[in-house]
């Protein structure tokens, strides 16, 4: 897919909460041993943090880099599976806090871990059709895993925000994108359920790998490209193993995915995962570098997007906090504190 009017990323920003719990600490509590843990540690939101607050933090960084008036935003869209309200948008609160209201499209997106890139795809359409000049697309989650479940080791928290606009103002221009979806029930959460359920190994080959690898390969084939044409790639990262294997399957080398592979240090940030990885790559990329972004959302589907970095990036990226600063900022907590922060103790 390509927009009628060329589109790119005008500003970007990330946010990751400061608290960390080690996977080994979770394993200690559940008696699971620490052999083969999926990550080193994960980011935990503080008591006063949620998808809305993290979205605002990330969006402010994106606005700092874009240097535009929030009133110029034509859309504010938040993709998440952990919106604080079941009914009532996160996006209106975010738009209000940023000063983008009231003449703005606001909405929440839901597609498990690819809600963020789904919002980005839609923003490309809004701008590419000439409806608006700027659109803000956010992927953010404060994901929860049922205590002792495999997902508890990885379910992290974080947000990434992208202001999409005209290509000529961009730090990275969208070359082409593609969405690949099927009805594949690998992971879900029903209304009123606190924790999601998943199909164990079914989440692997038929879900994550099939969609991620196919989306990446189809987009590369459509563009007549190979992984060697790219400086960087970022895949959805529910753990360290999955994106490493998917990238290798498509033909990327470990060094091409290294800067965007953050899951080992911050956990799986769900709708924020591949978008935050993209922000970390934009923090180090050079003009002319090509970047492949491949998200994955359970249920299931992948968005693949190809970007090329412009000369504007090196100057603009200095205007806000780099993603690695958030990744490295850490206050380690134990399981008891984590249980309190994540409301895992029923007190009434």
């Amino acid at each position: 897919m390509q927009p009628a009017i060329p589109v790119g990323i005008v500003g970007y920003g990330a946010y990751v909460p400061r608290y960390r719990i080690k996977a080994a600490e979770i394993a200690r509590v559940w008696g699971a041993g620490d052999g083969g843990l999926p990550i080193e540690e994960k980011a935990v939101p503080g008591l006063d943090e949620d998808v809305i607050s993290m979205s605002i933090e990330a969006a402010r960084n994106a606005l700092l880099r874009a240097q535009i008036d929030p009133q110029e935003l034509g859309a504010v869209w938040v993709g998440s599976e952990s919106h604080p309200y079941a009914v009532k948008p996160s996006s209106t609160v975010v738009a209000e806090a940023l000063g983008a209201t009231p003449l703005v499209s606001a909405g929440d997106w839901q597609f498990a871990c690819k809600a963020g890139t789904e919002a980005m795809q839609a923003a490309v359409g809004y701008i590419g059709s000439g409806m608006v000049n700027y659109a803000l697309a956010i992927g953010a989650d404060t994901a929860q895993g049922r205590p002792s479940d495999a997902l508890e080791y990885t379910a992290g928290a974080g947000a990434a925000a992208f202001i999409l606009g005209r290509a000529e103002e961009s730090v990275a221009i969208l070359e082409a994108s593609l969405s690949y979806v099927t009805d594949t029930p690998d992971f879900w959460r029903r209304p009123y359920q606190h924790y999601p359920e998943h199909g164990n190994r079914f989440t692997g080959d038929p879900a994550y790998f099939h969609h991620s690898v196919t989306a990446a390969e189809r987009l590369l084939a459509q563009m007549g490209r190979t992984p060697a044409d790219y400086a960087w790639a970022v895949f959805h990262q529910p753990n360290v193993k999955f994106p490493s294997k998917a990238a290798a399957t498509v033909g990327f080398k470990p060094e091409q995915i290294a800067p965007g592979l953050l899951v080992g240090a911050i956990g799986n940030t769900y709708a924020g995962a591949s978008p935050i990885g993209l922000t970390a790559i934009l923090d180090v990329a050079k003009p002319g570098d090509r970047i492949l972004l491949v998200s994955f959302g359970s249920g299931a589907g992948s968005d693949a997007m190809s970007f090329v970095v412009t000369d504007a990036l090196p100057e603009k990226r200095k205007r806000a906090t780099p993603t690695q600063a958030y990744v490295k900022r850490r206050v380690e907590i134990d399981y008891a504190t984590y249980a309190r922060y994540r409301n895992k103790l029923q007190t009434a």
Partner: protein, 391 residues
Amino acid sequence: MRDVSVIGIGQTKVGEHWDRSLSDLAVEAVLAALADAGLDSVDVLYVGNMLGDLLSGQTQLGALIADQAGLGGIPAMRIEAADASGAAALHEAYRAVAGGLVETALVVGVEKMTDRLPEVVESAMTAGGSADYETAHGVTYTAQSALIMQRYMHENGLQVDDFAPFAVNAHRNAGANPFAMYRSPISEKAYRQAKMVATPVNLLDGAPLADGAAAMILTSTERATALGRSGVRIAASTMATDSLLITDRPDFLSLDAARRSAAAAYAAAGIRPEDIDVAEVHDAFGILAALSLEACGFADRGQGVKVALSGEIGRDGRIPIASLGGFKARGNPVGASGIYQAIEIVTQLLGRAGASQVPSARVGLTQNLGSNGVTAVTHIFTLTQGGGQTS
């Protein structure tokens, strides 16, 4: 009673068949068995299945599979005896042919498990125990094996690691079985380091629950001979039961039903344990393999693990078991496993086991247990003269 022979076998690969239904799997195995036998019809169909209603919401498996396989409205029914369902169905098919009530019987074991969440599957498996006195209190199928294993280790001075040879042997042998779920070898070290599932049962001790279907066609030996397919005869098919509650058994380290069904099988076949060249025992857990070895007379009481430790269960050993992977590495589609065992013994007797061939195998035994020995079904298969070449 007349002699009964096996004239056709068919099986699906064991594994996670997420894109295939219970009847898809059963039909594949049935059609393969019919093709192997060179038949397009049979007189009766028995379906061995434990969990069709609990996991697939499906009963009437006899009619369903007969219809889907194009068997034209023949008598067909499901036989259920927990994880011994497969061998129980084979037992019924044997009786129908041996008793002269039918000429040709088709038996298919089928199980479809991996589309459901693990806790749902474990709960369904536990339905094979006592609902009032065990299941309601949360004693799962795996936990029961763990309790028995704990006591066995205590009485016989054993460690968890001593059970490793069962899993290591099974994985080594599965390499030559294209229908097995796990065909890679595992090391004793990997067994020692495997995480506990229900102490002392660890992840590499328990057989993986899986999807699969296996089918076998029986007819009278007289007819099999006329068809030129009298290779393998069923010399015995016996079944016995015990109390559902482990706590009701005077000695739960001796699987009484397994012992009685094995003794009856040897008597029916007119042979002794030492005449068996290859056996498939119920190795859903290492402890059950050990107790099944003892019940079949291949080891004295408390010596099942020591027989494995001494290397006697390997292909060239005194009593080879899990010769094509067993439950542990072939995988355990519970209601189908009894038929997979029978097919594997037939494969060995016909000399078609490839790199896992047991040398000069002419007499084989299978023992399939339901829920830790509540039900036990034992079969003995013999190779007829020249059978390995003609069938």
